[in-house]
Symmetry: D2
Subunit: 348 residues, 4 copies
């Protein structure tokens, strides 16, 4: 009953097999092997447009380097106040982006609202050197609160950014979960909605270690080879990442794994909705479930082998003996584990 | 006949098996799993002293973060003019080290000499703010020219650095080859010779992706968790690196692999010494062989399937139609491949 | 009727005379002249403790370098959301502080409240590398809203910071106005209240160009010589700044100038309080007055020669045709200018 | 007998008068006053082309910000191994330039030679991410060894740089001395010779504090307002720098001062050439004289009141009891001081 996070999960056998196969042969270093060289074409087909792909070692690397590619001296990135780049990356954007800064925008459900974005943009007149200059908008899909931006929402926010001359970045650490849960293509959810550059995460969704920056706007790809190299994120045996992506995209493995994780989260949500002891903290869409329970119940469930952690309550007003918890399902979460947890909850 | 580089090689089956085993189970993220938590003890036993280990995604990451841990504002790192940190890392030290700079010291055979180090140190009086302040000495073992520093040489250089208040870093991207080729223990070659912090490379020697910073001076470990995190080099599934190190150290696999690579290079060196068409550019000790041949011969051998690249001649004076080439043997280089190449050379 | 800002004002004749006197002789460069060398003693007497003084070229330089001296990798500085370092310095802290970040804390009247500071500190558990590590608290005295922190407020906030291991910085761009308006000594308002490092501004208060970092905690002074030099803020003819400070402190010139500016602002406040057309936006203490007037009135007064700009209303709720304006008095603001403006206001 | 450096000298009365005049009136802050706004036109006339001027607080600021404007991720600036940016600026280029690096090129007399520049450029193939990417060439006129590049030399070097896509920067901390000593116009020595961006120094030549970046290639001016602001080098009372430049350029004051300094250095050189005790270390052209004397003589002259310091001998081979010294003449060096020193030398 491991619901701590999807990066606690192992890796899919097909991913491991791809690594093993690559290990059995020699191949060009630093992105020069056949499987490396096929990546651009592979992702271009997936996204139905010409893209450039830059594998890196972590989601933090993908986010910070992608935003660095959008950077300007005195630059500012607009992002949600709960976004991973602000809360969980130890200032990586400031390092890779040469003192690029984040300006936070609040919003319910982990999502930014168009009016708030418009107001913030208006507060930064062009050429006012004291304030610095806006460089990019960063949106997280799915969001840190487990919610999805609709395509309309994405397009509205991206249009505001584009009008102000900002690049649009999407933190897609869990984009597979968003795509598996929507009726939209990868192209729809990204460049057709105005996204210029994407952090494409696969590590959380069944890979060993596979993250990449996918660049839709070719002007943003010019500095990336150098930004990535000086960051130590061009790996000598990068073909082992490329091979993972290859297996990941084969036969829609990635969407199947994400779809399974979402389904397991749905099963949790459905179970919780019938529970007297637990209620949902807020609605979520993908593989993350946020619930409110008594702190003592959380402790008891942990003692009984259910692993999941408490979470920042945000705007939620709790009773004193309550806590918000997050449960994350992943590609290898079993129905049995979910049902076992729900049984324990039913017994609370 | 792949002699391009040891990072062109695949990975050892034991390493792949360790990844596969880890993939089959869930485990704590960001270094909290059992195999992660055992790393410090494992390396402490290996080095016969208490060390702290920080796995990272690449050798460039290890070098730049290790040196950043030694950094100071206006800081300067002394290193050989052919060192990897200067030539091959795109300024990574300046990024991770917050504008830390490299000051180059020449020296024959890829090695720095004590008198030159002493003279350079003398040129930076303490507190002279215009020049900046010396922060660290970085030594590469084995060197970029394929040579080994003797323990006496290491101790002499490290003592000069320590007297001047500098931290001593060792770039050990190929330390396994140096250890396999010497009669010295890991402890002898590092902290007992005055090394404070080590880039411990395993990727080139049969791993998929496994590099680490090993810290002997605990004061240098204080900032590393934050330096690594903001660099995007704390991997969420870092247990897949830890598992590789585990297998790598088991039953001396690492020294066996490096010893094999060295032996294959010895076989090449022995063969070349009998050749009329090829001569050694300079003596080397480990798994790299530097040779001089006619450019036309280099081209012909490549056409016949022998893969190896030309190399900067450094101080070597060549005939006009000659070139310096580098051949690198690795854990999976076969005697057959070596002999096949030597046969082609004999036919030149 | 120039009330735009105190940095629009000229310079006091005594300051100019000090420059002229220094110009007539040669003297040591880079802080080695007699007037430079006397600065530490001069400021130590002023602050009744041993301090180290680092003149720099601007208030932004003083703030960013002082905070850089408190920096740590992945570091975070807590400051008010309206603070100059956030709003007006184009990310200088991130540059000088090697990707040091600002975390904003709201609070009425430009001041941070203890409960909010405590809650923010609590949100950053030590050693949680994802979030980064708290490095410093920055307080602005007088604040950007023209208000003073009382000594009790300063002590309370500084104590919370010290308990959490943070350095305490004071942005004293207008500390002279705060001191001239309070019954507190320079020592009381700074180190006796827990301030470790101070940006001591004189440029706005009658100097040509004179800012300095005053260090109370000697451990924070170790890196500053190098931080300042690499920033281009160690001036070759720094004795021209030192000479300004010398004249500035002579015979309490600085407090006389600031006291005059405060008195002129008082005169404005008193006048506005009798006006039907203008009301104070919020109470302020020093040489800045924030008022609400009809936008048309603002425009009319400007056409009649009164210079002052509109200001961010913050939490103030305005009528649609109203605006918040800021009027700043300085060392050379005349009673005549104030009365002339008040007469125009009376005629609105 | 002060020959330590031209930045030990005071300031010309006309410069002080300009400051005093500006001090007596109020004016726009941050470059918005009339004298600020006239700078671009003033310098455009001087250089016979449209330029943009960015006053800053120091020569180090000018150099590092100018090169930052030419920067690229993983970027490298080529400069002479004795250049001020390498030797005397504490890594400022790395800070302002976001880990921009310097690559040193040796050459006699403080000057780079075309063949060496060409060879270095050839060593950096475009797109080789490991090495980084060349960004700019920085030339110092007059050089650190007191020599002038001829226009032909400048054009040759600049053409090589331009062909390789590098921006060309001139460190003109003593450009006035070079211009006063040549038969070339400011335009000839800069943009007509291929210079894209210039550090225009006036501080050493009779100003209190006046340095500026002069931009010939408008594409390099786009980021400078933000680079300068985040560096703390946009001064609130920048009109006090602008006023100095105004007086500096009036009636050719700048060239008169530099011409006088050069003449005093000529007088020193002529005197030394007749001396048995002192000989020139190498030929120099402007206001700096490099001489070889016995260390005991240097000490004796200092005891007799002659101020000048020893200097790095570079390639000069000295007798054991000899030292190289540098003597710098400035705008206020008197014939009497020179003759007094020469008399002391004659008595050695």
């Amino acid at each position: 009953m491991q619901f701590n996070s999807d990066n606690w999960s192992g890796a899919h056998p097909d991913i491991v097999a791809a690594i093993a196969e690559e290990a059995a042969r020699d191949g060009g270093a630093y992105g020069s092997s056949p499987v490396d060289l096929a990546l651009n074409r592979r992702f271009s087909e997936l996204f139905e447009t010409d893209v450039q792909v830059f594998p890196v070692a972590s989601g933090t690397a993908a986010n910070s380097l992608a935003l660095a590619a959008c950077g300007r001296p005195g630059g500012i990135v607009l992002c949600h106040s709960e976004s991973h780049v602000e809360i969980d990356e130890c200032g990586a954007v400031g390092l890779q982006g040469d003192s690029l800064r984040l300006r936070l925008i609040d919003g319910p459900g982990g999502k930014m609202q168009a009016a708030d974005l418009a107001a913030t943009i208006a507060a930064f007149p062009k050429g006012h050197v004291h304030a610095g200059q806006l460089a990019a908008l960063s949106l997280t899909q799915m969001s840190e609160a487990g919610t999805f931006y609709s395509l309309d929402e994405l397009r509205g926010l991206a249009a505001l950014a584009a009008d102000a001359g900002l690049a649009v970045h999407m933190d897609g650490a869990r984009i597979a979960n968003a795509l598996a849960g929507c009726d939209a293509s990868p192209a729809d959810m990204t460049w057709r909605s105005g996204v210029d550059i994407l952090s494409f995460g696969a590590t959380k969704n069944g890979c060993v270690m596979a993250d990449a920056i996918v660049v839709f706007d070719p002007s943003l790809a010019r500095t990336l080879p150098f930004l990535r190299m000086r960051a130590g994120h061009l790996l000598s045996k990068s073909r082992f990442i490329a091979a993972q992506f290859d297996a990941y995209l084969n036969d829609n493995l990635w969407l199947k794994m994400a779809g399974h994780a979402n389904a397991m989260a749905d099963r949790l949500r459905a179970g919780f909705s019938k529970s007297a002891a637990v209620r949902l903290a807020w609605p979520s869409d993908g593989n993350e479930v946020f619930a409110i329970m008594k702190t003592a119940h959380h402790q008891k469930l942990q003692e009984l082998g259910a692993q999941f952690a408490s979470w920042a309550p945000g705007p939620i007003v709790l009773e004193q003996d309550e806590t918000v918890v997050r449960l994350v399902a992943s590609f290898n979460t079993s129905e049995e584990a979910v049902d076992q947890l729900l049984a324990l909850v039913a017994d609370l």
